[in-house]
Amino acid sequence: MRIPCPYCGDRDAAEFVYRGDASPVRPADGEGFYDYVYLRENPAGPMREHWYHAQGCRNWLVVVRDTRSHEISGAVMARSDRP
């Protein structure tokens, strides 16, 4: 599987560390931390997810990948991906 790193270009997925769903946002206050940390949509289909290019540019990416086919439709730097 190749991850299209916006900076480095297409790279083998083994260069990356996977973290999971990029959608949950850290709550500002005390509420919602259980949801944020534990509950997941775990969709069968396209998913926005966090990949860290640990062996490359050391940036966190938001990759859109279909969990049924593993086909990737895009990737951006997480820091520039503000909802």
């Binding site: 900076y7 480095c8 790279r11 062996q55 490359g56 050391r58 940036n59």
Partner: protein
């Protein structure tokens, strides 16, 4: 791997990680340095330094050690617009030259090193045999410079020995 391969360790290099402060773009840094840092994974050079793109707003700066404290100078020059971390000891740099250089590195790196895809000045931060490396193409001898973290040097030598078909004796890395 029939082609010739030479591996040397250029001495006296000063190395630093240069990280732009928030909102500071490459051209601003370029004005201070007199060399505009690349905004993509390539290497920019002038007589006094090479800047290798390692990520958005981050570069590996390579200069000549010895002439004063090169890294301290860089810090002073970039004060306020970029953070600098001395890596002169962090990495060892090896130069692979000759027709066999690309073929050897291709055995380890899962990126396209074909001249058409990886021209002079191209750079990549990637993996060779479980080792993280920063490699950039210097000339069309071809020569590639490979920077890797110092503690891995012995293992990298073992990888080279196993993959260079015995005909290229790697330098002992200091």
């Amino acid at each position: 791997m029939a082609e010739a391969l030479r591996i040397i360790q250029p001495g006296g290099l000063a190395l630093a990680a240069v990280m732009a402060r928030k909102g500071v773009d490459a051209s601003t840094i370029g004005e201070r340095l007199g060399l505009t840092p690349p905004t993509d994974p390539t290497a920019a050079r002038n007589p006094s330094m090479t800047l290798i793109g390692t990520g958005p707003g981050t570069w590996l700066a390579v200069g000549e050690a010895g002439q004063g404290d090169w890294v301290a100078g860089l810090e002073a020059t970039l004060a306020g617009i970029a953070s600098v971390s001395d890596q002169s000891s962090g990495y060892v740099v090896l130069r692979f030259s000759g027709q066999g250089a690309g073929a050897l590195l291709q055995k380890g790196a899962f990126i396209d090193l074909d001249p058409a895809a990886f021209a002079i000045g191209a750079a990549a931060t990637t993996v060779i045999g479980h080792l993280g490396v920063i490699l950039w193409k210097v000339d069309d001898a071809p020569s590639f410079d490979v920077a890797l973290f110092r503690s891995y040097a012995k293992s990298f030598q073992a990888w080279i020995a196993a993959n260079a078909g015995g005909q290229a004796l790697p330098v002992s890395i200091a």
